[in-house]
Amino acid sequence: MVNPIYIFILALGAGFLLTLFDKAGRKVSLTIFYAVLAAMVAISAQWLIALLGGSETAMIFTAGFKPPFSINLQMGLEEAIFTLAVNMLGLLSGLYLIKKFNATKVNAMVLFLMMIMGINGLIMTRDMFNLFVFMEITSIATFAMIGIDRDIKTLSAGFKYMIASGIASVLFLIGTIYLYRFSGMLHIDSMAVALDMASSQATLLAVFILLMAIVIELKPFPANGWALDVYEAVDSGVVAVIAAGSSAGMLFALYKITPLLNETLLLTVAGIGITTFVASNLMGLMQKNAKRLLGYSSIGQIGLVAGVFAMLVYLGYPINGKMVMLIAGGLFINHFVAKAGLFWLAGILNKENTEDWGALRKKPIYLFAFGAFILALVGLPPFPSFFAKWQMVMIFAKDNQFLVIAFILLGTLLEAVYLFRWLGKILESEVKEKIKVSFAQGLPVIVATLAVLGLGIYSATIVPGAGSLNIFYLPLLLIAALFVLDFLPVWVKNTLVILLMGFYTWQLLPGLEGYRFLFGVIFLVGGVILLIPGYAFKGKRVGFYPFAVMMYTGLAGLLIAENTLQFFTAWELMTLGSYFLIIRGKKAKPHALSYMLFSLGGAYAMLSGLGLFFSVNGNNLDLALLSSITESTSIIYILLVIGFLTKLASMGLHIWLPGAHGEAETDVSPMVSAILLKAGMFGLVVVMSAIQNPMIGNVSINYVLSWLGAITVFGGNLMAIYQEDAKRLLAYSSVGNLGYVLFGLTLMTHLGWLTSITYALNHFLFKALLFLAIGGVVWRVKTKNMYEMGGLIKRMPISFISVLIGIIALSGVPPLSGFAGKWLTYNVLIEKGWVLQGVVLIIGGLIAFLYCFRLIHTIFLGQLKDNHRKVKEAPLPILIPQVIFMFAIMFFSAYPNMVLRPVGDFLIKYFPQGAINWQNGVAFTAFGHWDGLGVLMITGVVFMAVFGWLLLTNRKTQKVGQFNIVYAAERPSRPELTHVGYNFFAHYRKALGVLSKPYAEKFWDGLSELFHSTADFIRKLYTGNGQTYLVHIIVFILVVYAFAMGG
Amino acid sequence: MTTIIIAVLGAIMIAAAVLAIVQKSLLSAVIAAGAISLLASLLYIVLAAPDVAMTEAAIGSGLTTIVFLFALNKIRKEDKHG
């Protein structure tokens, strides 16, 4: 094996001679330059392979003396990983910069080589002073390399960097010399052994000073203004090395000196790191400049890695143990690859403003890369940070570090805000120009993308509980295949996905038991049916199928998840897939963002809950143990329920839903509404069936939740009546419908749950139907505003029947299945005696009539618009599933026992009391009975009679022409005012006053505003003045000193 | 004896340092800074470190000052022509 010292020999030798070689031609020097970088990669790669294969850590003694008598280098697993990463970065960034290298003096190559070598040294050396030398090599080479562009911004940023770094090196020297004197050596490992921290104030102070030197180089908040300037101004290829590579070296330096730190100092580092993470992500909210934004994110991520690492060591996890590797290492490598990739992309696009990145849309590969990096930074599966974060929460929860968890999740959420906002902006922007990507600049990005994916999959195999993740392997393979096959026409992909999903459903469903089977039908059978409308689309529909499959993978994963890791992974896959489906809608971008943020917020609540669960059940991931926990039950319950309620869109957490469901594409709306919302319910069922009646003091949590359910019914329905947009109306109606679901569950009785499930099933059927029918109408008339429609009954009769059946089922009047829900509700209200909620529910139910009426009245009745005279019925692929759902509703209405009876049977397992008594399809409870088929027939007969009478008596109706203005004399100022259906329920708005104000939206808007203004206030710290930054550094050190040493 | 030498040299160095900072003329400031290094190299001899003394004298007070002067010269030239 090649001695690792050859990394330095090669770099230095080539560096020294490169000027001479250059005299023979730039080609010669370039060749040697890349050959050396490649050789450095090869050496570290070869060591990594050997070490993974079980080789011993290599010690290299320079000058042939053993430490502490000479400087030694070390090549262990960590070193091999870090040097390989850094050298790869060097090679790729070097390639990226080839054009600049060609255009400028040979010195640029020399400096670049020295930069990379310096970082290698930071990683490999075990000598304190040698560490300083390599630190200086790296920084001085960086300072000089910054001069590859010499505009005023770059220069002033570089100078600020030099000053800050100068202070750091002075501190480092002072610390080092004292530590040398106190311990008698410079070899770091022996130093840690020899040093007696308690011996004097000076010893502790020396360690502190040394630590501060390294911490300053790691850019802690708020002593990091200089770093932000560097990230913003310096060439992307160089900045990629600074942000990823130099930070890697400094993190490794921190890792090395950790044995010198006592508990207080470890906690200090943890505090600094996590504060930096939260603060810089907060400030990132206000940032528009792309590279500066990446800078904020970088600083935050480095803070996170350092903070989490210190925290783990503080909690007693061995420094080079598996947990540290998995969590801190995972977070680090994730940031390393993603950030390098993003900075490279920034250079390729060369757009300062984040809003101008739309050009990426013309380059699907790079758009994919961008998406992958963003998701990796936020920590979604299948990226390394997802597993790192998962494991981190489990570990910290085990050690009761909930404050730390809370802060980290807050920071992550803030980061998600600006990153997803950015992604959304790209996806919605109009592309005016094309970008050209050269091979040398494109390749690094592609390699980084593959690396981040590969590392994610690797993490998935080493995280504790990894074995169980095999359930996702095949679906993920399919998703990957769909990304590759995305060039195929839509019908091919649609058929393929329907077949595969159908087959999977066929295989999976019979094995599911109880409520899982029921949800399996909703998720998967529903899913397959709702894929049929896909045939109506033309072209390729790029990016639809991978994410649709991802969403269904998540949903299926929920059904079969046996442990919390599977469950959470499935949950996040589902969220991610659905986000990308929703965002496809033309005006859906902001709504997709709020969907993602609420989902992430909910997921983090859930994650904390799962962490707590992990800690109280003896560090076991098994989901089945949820029913046997005895400690912290209520908190776990609340955290998990909050997570599910965000998906269920309960009042207060609902504001993402109307936009997300309303603006989504024709077939996506029914998917996310009819199917996806049930995932939240599924979660509730899982938790509530395990933890039955948690209390806080004397208050039953479920009682509180029942009120939430009732209010949701009322509020959702109330808001639905004011909508002019047909799809939004349906969306708000979903909020209300799921309020019933929540209410039913919180009753915690047999009948309550049966009610809830009936509602869920019903909602699944009629909401899919309604969204398809209305979607079909919108497909044809190209508007969602109801006041622009009218009289469509003649042009779209099937859609009309769909909507008619849908609203009958929805409003809960006989004869259709909705009535079953209502009937059960009244039964259960009587049973439980919750009168007040009952009143709210009944009023809410009445409100539903109002908006149901509008759907028929405004869209299908009245006068046909002039421009709609030639519209056709909705495309066949959209109609077919409607017919299926119509029949399903009919069937469910006629034979409710066929469905509800088996449901009742398994509910007995949880609630043995108060089951329904079925006799030949007629349900009997203590309060009455209900015969589905009978009701359907009677109502049918009555309807036919009335209808026939109407036909008979109304033969003489006079038709009024379109332009027969019988009530003239007033000219409407706006076109929509001519429509009788416009603002139909305005009088209700007036009457209800306070009740119809959007409190929830105001609250969340206010919160967002608060965060943004705080961010804007804090970032004013960064005045741009180098001296001020210096003051920050000094004050920072003093404050930390006061905290760490004063107390 | 050495203590007195150190004290005297130290006092001069501190004075020179303050001078180097407050002095308006950049040229004098640079020379004062060079003087500090030169005096420091004397202290190194007191501290029995002749190698350091030589280096400090040659690099610290010699070359650094020269580099400063060249830089000043360049800036001044810029001033005239720019």
Binding site: I140, I152 | G10, L47, A49, L72
Partner: protein, 117 residues
């Protein structure tokens, strides 16, 4: 040699004071180099042992008893390196200063605030 250590600290503080208060970039660099000198002084003073001679084995030093008569050679070696590095940093800072001046015609650090927030 506590006295020299203190002297070193004083120089560091003066240098830092210069870096924090002087507007002229050249002055800031001078402050930095004074600070550096202070650090070097501290480093050498740490290696000094009372009444001992330079670590050179010549006729004046008995090799057998050298352990008890010479000062620590390591800090000297380190300071040597530090001095050279200091020069390197100073030279680079000065080239920044030259370039900055070329671009803006001023050396006032307050003028270079293009990047902020």
């Amino acid at each position: 040699m506590t006295l020299i250590t203190i002297l070193g600290l004083v120089l560091i503080m003066i240098g830092l004071w210069g870096m924090l208060t002087q507007k002229n970039i050249i002055k800031i660099i001078i402050g930095f180099s004074i600070m550096d000198t202070g650090v070097h002084l501290i480093m050498v003073s740490i290696g000094y042992l009372k009444d001992r001679t330079a670590p050179i084995i010549d006729s004046a030093v008995d090799q057998a008893n050298a352990v008890n008569t010479v000062v620590d050679p390591i800090p000297s070696a380190l300071v040597l390196t530090a001095i050279v590095i200091g020069l390197a940093v100073t030279a680079l800072m000065l080239s920044y200063a030259i370039k900055l001046y070329e671009k803006k015609g001023t050396l006032d650090i307050n003028e270079f605030k293009e990047l902020k927030w």
